[in-house]
């Protein structure tokens, strides 16, 4: 500790800074707001956004054809009625969970390192939930009647079946989307006011001014604001756990071998955080390099995220192990068959790849050298994203394609429309992120000022 530059904000017990040296209230404000206001649009932005936008068009095309022809264009069949739509839904919603974890749980735990990554992790949550939300709506067969999922007095005299996890899911996911959006917007208000006051052009002043709603940083307002942040964090924390729990109920409440297990809720939640942190890493590494934000998103942040991935990855590994153990311990021939079928059946290659991507390769995170190598972390985060997608594929497909009666066994092969919809949502996610980094502060400016204030450095030069 003795050799650390006293200008760097350092938490006790740690020798690594959370922010580069020499920053003041003014410098963090200017650096982050300049990306939105004065730096203009880099050429690389147009290029990346262009590609993402093409994929959004692909999504539109795939959905338009789906509405025209029906779900028969997908690879689904009986017995595998839940194909890519549910795989992708669970994958996307899981990715969102890291954003809420970073913004809510780490806030309650007073983890200061969350400050510079929480804003775009929350944005990622909202965009991932937007992508997730598309799938249940388009997979219902008659998407123009998707509003039947909602309870409302209707001339048919019917109500949704509230004993069904699929209806719980509607409430869990829509609540999650709403609360994530509220949390994100409340966090943005003071920064929108900063942009309003920094903006040079009239359009910027008006748009950010309207969005900031007249925020002026009054001490009384701040006092209520901090209380509101804490309350929202306290509400979002049980919410995020409940959302993936309810998603896992979609499976666990059914009687299909491989789904009907009590370990599903905790292992789904851990898997969600695992994949979400991998996605935050996948996004943070290129963004910090492109916008030169190494001062704000430091190696310490990347290493901490790597540690969270290692820990949640081990919980996921434990889940896989218990799943296999319980299949044999239960003595149920169907459960035993399910595991043997995963290991040696027609989907053995995806299952083996899943174990490789989610369990074997991430063990390299035990080594400090790997945790401190940016390229290694980037590759690992991609590997984990693929692995977690494969996990959902295995859960959905292998359990359905071989259930109780051999006469109703089948196979599932995704069609190009399945792939087009999936890559289309990736395009939507990326396109929304491009718009976000261009038009909103991707790092919370006022929380960075707080971080600066803790050093005493900001006050001297301010």
């Amino acid at each position: 500790m003795g050799t650390v530059n006293p200008q760097m904000p350092v938490e006790p017990g740690s020798a690594r800074p959370l922010i580069g040296p020499g920053h003041t209230f003014g410098s963090v404000t200017d650096k982050i707001s300049a990306i939105v206001l004065t730096k203009g649009t880099p050429r690389g932005w147009y290029f990346g956004f262009g590609i993402a936008f093409l994929l959004v068009m692909l999504l539109h095309y795939a959905m338009a054809y789906l509405f025209l022809v029906g779900v028969g264009i997908w690879g689904i069949n009986i017995p595998v009625g839940w194909g890519f739509a549910i795989v992708n839904f669970v994958w996307w919603i899981g990715i969102g969970h890291a954003g809420t974890l970073i913004s809510a749980i780490l806030l309650l735990l007073r983890q200061k390192w969350r400050t510079s990554i929480n804003r775009f992790a929350e944005a990622m949550t909202i965009f991932a939930v937007s992508c997730a939300g598309i799938f249940p709506l388009i997979h219902v067969g008659r998407p123009w009647l998707a509003y039947w999922l909602l309870p409302y007095p209707n001339p048919m005299g019917t109500w949704p079946q509230f004993r069904s996890p699929l209806v719980w899911d509607v409430f869990a996911v829509s609540t999650y989307a709403t609360v994530s959006l509220l949390f994100w917007f409340v966090g943005l208000i003071p920064d929108l006011a900063t942009l309003r006051d920094r903006a040079k052009q009239r359009a910027g002043k008006i748009i950010y001014g309207v969005l900031a709603m007249g925020w002026r940083g009054s001490a009384v307002h701040w006092s209520r604001y901090e209380m509101a942040s804490l309350l929202l964090a306290g509400l979002a924390t049980p919410l995020v756990v409940s959302v993936h729990t309810v998603v896992s109920f979609d499976f666990a409440v059914g009687v299909i071998p491989g789904w009907h297990t009590t370990i599903f809720p905790p292992y789904f939640v851990a898997g969600a955080i695992y994949s979400g942190f991998a996605m935050v890493m996948t996004l943070a590494i290129p963004i910090r390099a492109f916008y030169r934000l190494e001062d704000f998103v430091t190696m310490r942040h990347l290493e901490n995220m790597a540690k969270v991935m290692l820990a949640t990855g081990l919980i996921v590994a434990y889940g896989y192990m218990m799943e296999a153990f319980m299949a044999f311990y239960s003595g149920s021939q169907y459960d035993k068959f399910m595991i043997m079928n995963r290991l040696t059946g027609p989907y053995a290659v995806p299952y083996a790849s899943l174990l490789l991507c989610n369990i074997v390769i991430p063990q390299s995170l035990w080594f400090k050298r790997v945790r401190n190598s940016v390229p290694a972390l980037f590759v690992l985060s991609l590997v984990i994203n693929v692995g977690m997608w494969l996990e959902r594929f295995i859960i959905v497909v292998t359990s359905l394609h071989r259930d109780f009666l051999p006469s109703s066994w089948g196979m599932y092969y995704p069609t190009r429309w399945d792939w087009a919809t999936f890559t289309g949502t990736i395009g939507l996610f990326v396109a929304l992120l491009y718009l976000f980094v261009r038009f909103l502060p991707m790092i919370s400016i006022f929380e960075m000022r707080q971080l600066v204030a803790e050093t005493g450095e900001g006050r001297k030069k301010a």
């Binding site: 005299g157 409340v186 006051d197 709603m213 009384v220 209520r224 309350l231």
Partner: protein, 185 residues
Amino acid sequence: MTPVAQSMRRHPIYGLMAEFKSPEDLLAGAERAHKAGYRRMDAFTPLPIEGLAEAIGFQRTRLPIIVLMGGILGGLSGFGMQYYASVIGFPLNIGGKPYNSWVAFIPITFEMTILFAALSTVLGLLALNGLPTPYHPVFNVPEFELATRDRFFLCITAKDPKFDLEETKKFLAGLNARKVSEIET
């Protein structure tokens, strides 16, 4: 003359704004102003400053109770909706299970509790803070746009019973303030 115009005549200015370089100066200034008997004042900062709201005489926010009420209302309406639909509106006998199978109603009750509590938090925050505020006189101070960057402000409004343009100006200038300016209404 309308009452609004009358009050404008009484207070040709909204108040006085003192500008500080650091949060410590502002905090000390706010405490002294409160001690000197000023009550109708506010401080403006680019980041939350611990103890500042208390220093200018703000006691405690009612937000938590609003959120609690919202949460309770959400939970009750969530359960009530499911009870009505499953027992009264559209009772379906499924394997002889009770119509009021309350265990299965818990997830939605929980989600509705969170949803209503979160909405009450945000709406309560906006309502108590009086946002959106389309116009506010403090923005007439040219330097005030630095209140969202690195400058700290203390404002004593003309409505304060102890307010006297010259006296208060002198008082604020003695608070280690960088500049004191009048705020047009």
